[in-house]
């Protein structure tokens, strides 16, 4: 795959998926605590989302950051727009803004994900939820 193909794939993923999360690892097996928090926020709200593991090829991250202008992972896009990384996602989850943006009910506080957990081991393959 060329860098241009990777970039086009990323741009299409953002366009075609209303809620698109780029992360290290997968929602089932996050490979970094920050990615775990971001996917945990979406899980807590019960929204459907697409997730792409950026770890299998370093160029995915390079092209993603070139497209978004955002240096770190995770990156959440909603309706084609960058919402932010894990700090912004967590702030917006707590304030209810994320639920508003996604058009879902804010869950009761006890449903919020446990913020601090040790990251699990990195997955071996890419789990492509973009089909």
């Amino acid at each position: 795959m060329t860098n241009q193909e990777i970039r086009t794939f990323i741009e299409n993923a953002v366009k075609e998926n209303r809620v698109m999360l780029f992360m290290k690892g997968t929602p089932d097996q996050p490979a970094c605590g920050f990615s775990m928090r971001a996917s945990g926020a979406l899980n807590a709200l019960g929204v459907q989302y697409a997730a792409l593991d950026i770890l299998p090829d370093p160029r995915i991250r390079e092209e993603l950051s070139a497209v978004s202008g955002w240096p770190t992972i995770p990156q959440l896009f909603v309706d084609g727009e960058l919402v932010g990384g894990s700090d912004i996602v967590m702030e917006m989850l707590e304030s209810g803004e994320l639920a508003d943006l996604l058009g879902v009910e804010q869950p009761a506080p006890s449903d919020a994900p446990a913020p601090e957990e040790q990251p699990r081991q990195a997955p071996i393959g890419i789990e492509n939820r973009l089909s």
Binding site: F34, R61, S65, G69, W70, P71, T72, L82, V83, G84, G85, S86, D87, I88, E91, M92
Partner: protein, 79 residues
């Protein structure tokens, strides 16, 4: 290896008058948390506010600075 004092100083130089707290989360010089209060954030979205901070460090974020957690607010903002 960057230190929290160095990060604080560089943010303060980039955003004169900002109130900056930087913590080294692990003591290892690669995972930091920065809290920045600045009137430069007035009228900017969160994304734009965080980008101002990331821009101070450029490629170092994701390199020597493995992780930089950011919280921004404006002086009038009582969060």
């Amino acid at each position: 290896m960057p230190t929290s004092d160095e990060l604080k100083l560089r943010i303060e130089q980039a955003l004169p008058g900002a109130h900056v707290i930087v913590e080294d989360l692990t003591g290892g010089g690669d995972h930091f948390r920065a809290k920045v209060v600045s009137n430069r954030f007035d009228g900017l979205s969160r994304i734009q506010q965080h980008k101002l901070i990331y821009d101070v460090f450029g490629d170092e974020v994701g390199g020597p600075i493995h992780a930089l957690s950011i919280k921004t607010q404006t002086p009038g903002d009582g969060r």
